[in-house]
Symmetry: C2
Subunit: 116 residues, 2 copies
DNA sequence: TAAATATTTCTATAATTCGTGAAATATAGA
DNA sequence: TCTATATTTCACGAATTATAGAAATATTTA
């Protein structure tokens, strides 16, 4: 797994650093690979369509969610691989890379790709 | 370990969603529990004192770093427990809490407290 | 084709965040 | 006490981000 770049991590963190977008992302994480239609997200989280769309675009640009059209709806789902890369980025070099203590963490982050 | 609240997670993610602050945090993560003096951080990352101070305040308010004075210097260190809570928050309820797949992840996040 | 549904795009305003330099505060040593 | 070092606080203009409503686009069904 290629390690994430700083700019990429900042984009992902920025995307998540917002109450509405974080709620969307967590909803999608909990929904797993099936994903959720944009309209259903809007109803569940009580958001205006334009606000939701803008939020989904930001999460999408950060690589945290993927989408595909299904009829009139667009189904959004969390990108677990990207989420895993982000966790790995935050943990890498922990304690100067002291393998005895921290090395397992990077591997562990990979498991966040449980739904991929 | 108490689970993190959404508002708290947003604060932490916002604090990290900035190139300079993310660099500071990663430097502190790599330094481990010894921490690094503010001035040394500034020299290593080539930041102005006032900019660095503002960044450290934001990271501190988010609970991601701790500080203590040592002589004229102030030593900053990463708060690994808070980092662990943040990772856990992002992973919780993954795949609707399907234990067979995702439950281990929450436990795993605890290990990010390797230096605590 | 016409109407209904689902979502995005556009536009404008409001709010927040960013970075800097100067001044202030705290500590140590001569 | 005076001076040097280390860090924070303050104030402000510049840049970015957030939100809403209206209009536009895409798809399905009648």
């Amino acid at each position: 797994m290629a390690t994430m770049r700083t700019a990429n991590a900042v984009d992902a963190l920025s995307a998540l650093a917002h109450e509405g977008r974080l709620s969307i992302f967590k909803l999608l994480v909990s929904a797993g690979t099936d994903g959720v239609a944009a309209g259903l997200i809007a109803r569940k989280l009580d958001m205006l369509p334009s606000t939701l769309s803008a939020s989904l675009t930001i999460l999408s640009n950060a690589g945290l969610v993927a989408s595909c059209r299904k009829g009139r709806s667009i189904i959004y789902s969390a990108d677990f691989a990207q989420m895993s890369k982000l966790l790995g980025f935050l943990m890498e070099d922990c304690c100067r890379g002291n393998a005895a203590i921290c090395a397992p963490l990077a591997q562990i982050a990979n498991r966040a790709a449980c739904c991929a």
